[in-house]
Amino acid sequence: MYLTREEERILDGERGWAEQICMQILAKLGDLFGANQLIPIASAHISGVSYKTLGDAPIEFLKALTENNAKAKVNATLNPSSIGQMLFQNKFPKKFHARQKTILELFQKMHVKPVLTCTPYYIEKPALNAHLAWAESSAAIYANSVLKAWTNREGSPSALAAAIIGKTPDYGFHQAENRKATTLVKIEAKLRSEADYGALGILVGKKLQSGIPFFQGLKPLENDCLKQLGAALASTGNINMFHYGQMPKEEIEKMVITQKELEQTAKNLSTAGSETKPDLVFIGCPHCSLNEIKQIAQILNGQTINDSIRLWICTSRHIKQRAAPYIEAIQKTGASIITDTCAVVTWTHILGINTIMTNSAKTAYYAPTLNKAQTIFAPLEECLKTALQP
């Protein structure tokens, strides 16, 4: 890979160990994946924040970077942490709170913004065709497919290295020829809700494993549905982009999705028995948009939720602030608006949660292993009605 004189100097350590090690990461990954150069990025989004999923592993490396004065050169943001604002005070062992705080402080020292959301695009939408280095698979696929920005599905360390250097190796989804659809997916099933879009993603991700699907006949009602589709595709497949709209010109392999398959997939995403009542109804994976918050307020319509069920609405602080009137209406029903975290990356079992009902296919897919919880997968309206039932 070609490096500029400036980049060579960083690689030689002229600007200190932190930038040197970050440049080594980018240069080596670039070599491995056939990049010819590094390209500037508009932003970096860094995963690997929650103490629940990380444990102590990253603390020492992050500490070494901060001690060597590492600072992000571009707009850099953080994924959700394990502990939410307000609701979680003193709910977990002291050590968990302390370690999570340490991780956040280390990132902040590097000027990485603790937005603690998996939907950084609601805070600042990337420009069309902007090059990014985003980790968090649901955000990367949304950026490529819906926002038409360009990013590989970064890992936690490579996104951090890109933030500190302000560049990323030019390979994969940064090159137009690698962004073309590889499989035409004909949907012979009805997509009635955001949950159906999620189930479609789980199914196609599993069947395709990798590649770039083009969804024929997909009429995206709301970007929120596409958010569910992408998050699910990236959960079961090594898939970082999908297409819809204008048919591809080239002849590509075809796949058909039937109503029966889709229904079976949705059914399998519920692991709890049909009689089981949820301890938690969880909406907000990925974090809720302003539109979703508004929809939730409208469906709840001032009614009071059943006090034996918890209803969590997870979003970013940014959306919470922008949606203030709806937030207030939702809170009056007894629901909790939770920022900075979500059900998947916190310790739900410590909070006594054994059954999670959700409209998110991604959560339904991961919760049995990551939360050791049973799942009930249903569309938003059904989830909220369950929480309202006396």
């Binding site: 080596k28 491995l32 690997g48 592993a57 990253p58 890992g155 360390p157």
Partner: protein, 141 residues
């Protein structure tokens, strides 16, 4: 004593010698290796319960969360890291881990030729590596 010489590509340079620990299964570092003991703790893995510390760890590639790179770094800081890592295909997790922990790493090596307990010597020159595998005769029969 038999000697086999294998070729490979250098991911992180460094010359060293040590005892091989070999598996044909990918290794998941986050959750699969305890950074405080250097032990492989993934259930059902054929190296389950084995210490990777100071070994020439030979495996096809890494697997799982990218945070696994930080586990490799933590192993090194605790003095529990493998002496070198030899893989078939370099993946992002192990590559980044080897870079930040400064552990010699190779890929494109035919690891099927190496057996646990072999003495392995790695010599790297620029991008290419030579791996000398020394085995007691009795093991070959």
């Amino acid at each position: 004593m038999s000697i086999i010489t294998l070729k490979g590509r250098v991911i992180v340079a460094g010359n060293c010698k040590g005892k091989a620990l070999v598996t044909d299964k990918p290794i998941t570092f986050l959750g699969g290796v305890n950074p405080k003991t250097g032990t492989l703790v993934e259930r059902g893995h054929d190296l389950y319960g084995q210490k990777i510390t100071d070994k020439i760890l030979c495996f096809p590639h890494g697997h799982g969360s990218t945070v696994g790179s930080y586990v490799i770094y933590a192993l090194k800081k605790h003095g529990l890291a493998p002496r070198a890592m030899i893989t078939e295909n370099a993946d992002t997790v192990v590559t980044v881990g080897a870079i930040i922990a400064e552990i010699p790493m190779l890929d494109q090596v035919d690891i099927k030729q190496i057996k646990t307990g072999d003495i392995v010597e790695i010599r790297t020159v620029d991008d290419s590596a030579l791996v000398k595998v020394l085995r007691e005769k009795s093991q070959c029969i």
